[in-house]
Amino acid sequence: MTEIKFSKEELIKIKEVYQGIMSYASIGLFFRSGEIIGDIIAQNADRENYFENVSEILKEKGWVENIEFGENEVKVKGSAEVHDSTAPTCHMLRGIIRKIYEKYYGTIVNVEEEKCESKGDPYCLFVISRMG
């Protein structure tokens, strides 16, 4: 598969274009884009060591520097989407995480980013809740 790399700076600038045009709606589009990426990552991950495998893929692809998967929460250091902001910014990663958990649990899950390095928190924290 051909892979295209974006630098973090390029990604942030592209996101700024979307945000500048569509305002809050861009958050939903980033989230859905992340879901597409997450779906493919989840499909390709080894089922036996699922979260270890997914973690390696995310690090290798540059989405995170480190990620810890728990039953109901995910801690991330060095998300590619982090930049100075007063609100959480890791919308694509939130979509990726959603699909990773949905594949694992086989049910719909909701993911909220409750802490974000963009706001000055020490790490990004995503809280998972099962809907089904």
């Binding site: 500048g20 045009i21 569509m22 305002s23 809050y24 709606a25 861009s26 958050i27 939903g28 589009l29 989230f31 859905r32």
Partner: protein, 88 residues
């Protein structure tokens, strides 16, 4: 009359939409239409009260509602009805 209460990021909250409509997609399109319309209009230094998409048979009206967006497939009267339904 169909309607949907939508978060600003396009997340569906509640409403009544036909089964053949993919809710998630419809809501994000409404949020994107409102966001883009607002940005374009703000170029003239004015705030947006509503975004109307006029079709041959139907119209979609999107307006801000208590920190979210309310999208209605119908007319102004339907918008008022939808507000009542959202409150209940």
């Amino acid at each position: 009359m169909y309607y949907a209460l939508i978060k600003r990021d396009g997340t569906y909250v509640k409403g009544e939409l036909p089964d053949y409509i993919e809710k998630e997609k419809f809501c994000i399109m409404c949020a994107a239409a409102f966001g883009a319309g607002t940005t374009a209009h703000k170029e003239f230094g004015d705030d947006v009260k509503e975004v109307i998409i006029k079709g041959e048979k139907l119209s979609v009206i999107i307006e801000p509602y208590e920190g979210k967006l309310l999208a209605v497939v119908g007319d102004r009267e339907d918008m008022e009805k939808a507000k009542e339904l959202v409150k209940s």
